[in-house]
Amino acid sequence: MTATLQKKICMLGAFSVGKTSLVKRFVESIFSETYLTTVGVKIDKKIIDLSDRIVNLILWDLAGEDDISSLRMSYLRGSAGYVLVADGTRPSTLEVAVSLRRRVEADLGPLPFVLLLNKNDLREQWAIRDEEVEELQGSGWWVQSTSARTGEGVEAAFRTLADRVAR
């Protein structure tokens, strides 16, 4: 019988970068053009079959980070890993992701994580420089371009993270 694990994963990032849309794309395979901001946290579950084991990913989609409502670290308690999301068309969101990663690591210690550069379908509006990304990759970050609209890179990113947290 295949072992089943349950792991909590938090979605972190600035507001309106597409965290909820990424979860919706991953869990329900749909995308909605309507932007509805998240307040508090939204809980979803996705079962992933990693062939040697099954992982129940419990996805905590947290409210976006902004100047007023900063992250409640209490939400992250018990996380096995996290997903940092930045919007490729808004350079400031990458700064937020970098800041979150620093704070999370200070609070919870080193955990598996992935940085998703979302909205890759808006490549003509892309504003994040390749050099910045290469610098993060150079310091050990795992960076993945995604598009919640087209689904590009989404499944692969969550599956890879599931594999890492399940080890």
Binding site: S16, K42, I43, A63, R72, G78
Partner: protein, 403 residues
């Protein structure tokens, strides 16, 4: 402390239970679900099995168990059912109570406000981005404008340079035209003058720019007439081509001699030639030049005559020279002007030429006196000529003395 009356408290509890959709789970120290109640279905918590791990059935508890601290609240948690709850964790005598209170309405209100704030922030961000793009576009436009201005200025400079060069060119052209016109005038004058004078003399007159020489004037000149003896008889018997060939050789031999001594060739009349000296170019010794020319002509024709004799042309050569004042200048009318000399001295020279036998150079006594140092002259005696009232003392120039 004031307390609510029991009936109000009961009513409030009942109200909270129904309005807040209160539900609860009981979890023991082994993280097993040991109890559940309230509006569980509102949160999708159905088919719960007591005695099984709590987090397996209520997956939102994953990571929250066992609690690090109690009471502990996870606010505003949206569950898979769509309900939003504040999740309270309270420990009572080794049992963890997980109480869910519906805050969907509050969450929706908060979301509306949050949404507006984010929409505004996003709009501001977009505006800032557009402003940056606008500024960049403006800067690029400004740079392009500057480049354009520089190009325009360079173009204006180039245009001005071209105009200056064009003006210079126009000035050059004008100068050139004037030069061409001047040269053309000179060429025309030269062509006109060359008809009367030896080429070097014609060029001298042109370069002096003084054409007053062509006006009528009087001057003391030495006049030389020469022609061939027996030419008329030869012309009657010979073919025209032979006559023309002979004349060609004759003129070709004599004209260069005239030019060499700067004589003025007045005219050709068949085999006859009239040449004079001291006009228009003044010379100090016109008689000497005339005699020198006459001797050179005689030598040249003598040489030619030997050739003619081989062809059986019986032709001789005589010369007459006189010196005196004559009237000279341009005669004729527009389209047909000639430079010529008129006066008794011309007639005298012509008569002497007529009287000269083959090989003779007959000169007046004045000429003979003038060339006494230059030539051996033999007096022939006074001769009477047609058109002259008195007999004339005539001499023959036999040869030039060796220098």
């Amino acid at each position: 402390m004031e307390t609510l009356p029991a009936s109000v408290a009961e009513q409030l509890q009942a109200l909270t239970f129904s309005e807040r959709a209160v539900a609860y789970l009981q979890v023991d120290a082994g993280l097993t679900l040991v109890g559940a109640g309230g509006h569980l279905e509102a949160y999708g918590l159905t088919h719960l099995r007591l005695g099984r791990p709590a987090a397996e059935q209520a997956f939102f508890l994953e990571g929250l168990l066992p609690p690090v601290e109690t009471p502990y609240i996870v606010p505003s948690m949206e569950l898979a059912s769509g309900r939003v709850a504040d999740v309270h964790l309270v420990l009572r005598a080794d049992t963890l109570w997980v109480v869910l209170l519906d805050v969907s309405t509050e969450r929706d209100a908060a979301r509306r406000m949050q949404q507006k704030a984010y929409d505004m922030t996003l709009a501001q961000e977009r505006e800032a981005l557009l402003n940056r793009q606008l500024q960049a576009a403006n800067a690029a436009l400004l740079a392009t404008q500057r480049e354009l201005q520089a190009s325009r200025e360079a173009l204006v400079r180039a245009h001005e340079q071209v105009q200056a060069q064009a003006a210079e060119l126009a000035a050059w052209n004008k100068t050139l035209e004037e030069r061409v016109a001047a040269q053309l005038t000179e060429i025309e004058r030269m062509a006109r003058l060359k008809r009367f004078f030896a080429p070097p003399l014609a060029e001298l007159i042109v370069s002096s720019g003084d054409e007053r020489i062509l006006e009528s004037h009087r001057r003391d000149i030495a006049v030389l007439f020469c022609d061939l003896r027996g030419f008329t008889a030869f012309a009657e018997s010979a073919e025209p081509e032979e006559v023309m060939a002979l004349l060609h050789d004759y003129h070709a031999a004599l004209v260069p001699l005239i030019q060499a001594l700067e004589g003025t060739l007045d005219r050709f009349v068949g085999d006859g030639l009239m040449v004079y000296f001291n006009d228009p170019l003044p010379c100090p010794n016109p008689a000497e030049r005339a005699v020198s020319l006459a001797v050179a002509m005689r030598d040249a024709v003598t040489a030619l005559a030997q050739t003619w004799l081989r062809r059986d042309y019986q032709v001789g050569f005589g010369i007459g020279i006189a010196q005196g004042f004559a009237t000279l200048g341009q005669i004729g009318f527009e389209g047909r002007f000639d430079y010529s000399a008129i006066g008794t001295v011309i007639n005298t020279a012509a008569r002497l030429c007529e009287a000269a036998k083959d090989g003779q150079i007959l000169v007046t006594s004045r000429v003979a006196t003038a060339v006494a140092e230059l030539a051996d002259v033999k007096e022939i005696g006074p001769l009477k000529f047609k058109g002259l009232s008195r007999p004339l003392a005539v001499c023959n120039v036999e040869a030039l003395r060796a220098a």
